[in-house]
Amino acid sequence: MAESVKVLPDEIQAIIEVHEWDLRTREGVERFRELKAKSLPSVALDEELMYESLIPPQEELIAEIQRRFKEKNQGD
């Protein structure tokens, strides 16, 4: 799943921050539970669980990131 994020184009990488958690660790488990995730792999955007057990098509992921970016920067 992390790979699908790492291969995003540079202009998208420039507007996101990526964190990856390992479910083998206590920290990863804690984050997994905070996000109320149920299965692996899971992707959350802005603390909101978006994709579970599936790797989203790149276009869909890009569109969602851009939508959120625009929403946050509307007043600028």
């Binding site: 479910l23 083998r24 660790t25 206590r26 488990v29 804690e30 997994f32 539970r33 995730a37 149920k38 299965s39 692996l40 057990s53």
Partner: protein, 315 residues
């Protein structure tokens, strides 16, 4: 239970003195904790520990040098050797939990949950176990309790030569300090509890099983997420809340291929239960006595099929 990253815990096996082990912690070059475990003069040993706590290795070594007691060595001399060995890397930091491997070849084992100091419960359960012809009996933590007659129970377990692991309450009672609200135990019994394994590793036919008490192990100094069986513990304790949260079973299933064990047994949830997820068996061991009922668990593996049953006896 501090979990300071720069502090390292060591266990030194002594030679020629009464206590078989010295447990100590060093933070950079400062002694944080010393405990002579399993024998010797508990009062003197405690005094030595208190006097040396907070001092630098160099200071301590100067004072420990040249003390003789028996066999041309002494507890202070052994401590000096232990500290030197830890400083020059010959003694490696201890694992955060002790694993006991039972090398027996079994098909049928008996599991006994928390006894909380009740030796009569244990005697009754053992009598019932005999009828079932189990090949091994395991006491799975919280042997001791808050108000019960712990010493009698521990004596009985030793006499019966039962395999036991430590529970959260046993760990608390094994501490020399901060146990004021807990029942008094002799130094011998405290040391015995401290030396109990935290994890039991056994083979039942071709299945590998592990048993541990619960999440206090994750708080032990130096607990690493990558120690053997830590993954099983993290999944049972943290992810599934002792198998009570079934919504995360899909995630559990995704992690299961990395497990070392086929059967994972735990006791903290204080209820009896058996789950089969992703080809692995999870067993929750409940208390040995609940109201008017005594319980124990029968684990039986035949032709690779795992059977688990909670046995009930009238108290």
């Amino acid at each position: 239970m501090s979990n300071n990253d720069s502090s390292q815990r060591f266990i030194y096996t002594t030679q020629g003195v009464c206590p078989p082990e010295i447990h100590f912690k060093i933070n950079k070059d400062i002694i944080e904790e010393i405990r002579f475990v399993g024998g010797g003069c508990p009062g003197n040993a405690q005094l030595v520990s208190r006097l040396l706590k907070g001092r630098s290795i160099k200071d301590v070594l100067d004072q420990l040098d040249g003390i003789d007691c028996r066999n041309q060595t002494s507890c202070p001399d052994q401590l000096a050797r232990a500290i030197i060995a830890s400083a020059n890397g010959r003694l490696k930091p201890a694992d955060s939990f002790r694993v006991h491997q039972d090398k027996g070849d079994y098909t049928k084992v008996g599991l006994i949950g928390e006894l909380v100091g009740n030796h009569q419960t244990l005697a009754k359960v053992l009598a019932h176990l005999k009828d079932e012809r189990v090949q091994a009996v395991y006491c799975l933590g919280n042997l001791t309790g808050r108000s019960a007659d712990n010493a009698e129970l521990l004596k009985f377990i030793r006499k019966q030569k039962l395999t036991a692991i430590q529970g959260a309450l046993d760990w608390q009672l094994a501490q020399t300090e901060g146990t004021h609200n807990l029942p008094n135990l002799s130094p011998k019994n405290r040391d015995w509890l401290l030396q109990l394994p935290h994890v039991l590793d056994f083979q039942i036919q071709r299945k590998k099983a592990i048993a541990f008490f619960g999440d206090y192990l994750q708080q032990l100094p130096g607990f690493s997420d990558f120690e053997p069986f830590a993954l099983e513990m993290n999944m049972v304790c943290g992810l599934t809340n002792f198998m009570q949260d079934e919504t995360v079973f899909p995630a559990l299933e995704a992690m299961i291929p990395q497990f070392q064990a086929d059967i994972i047994i735990f006791s903290q949830a204080r209820r009896w239960g058996h789950w089969q997820v992703g080809g692995k068996d999870f067993i929750s061991v409940g208390p040995a006595q609940k109201k008017e009922c005594l319980n124990w668990g029968l684990l039986n593996v035949e032709a690779d099929a795992i059977h688990f049953e909670t046995k009930e006896i009238a108290a």
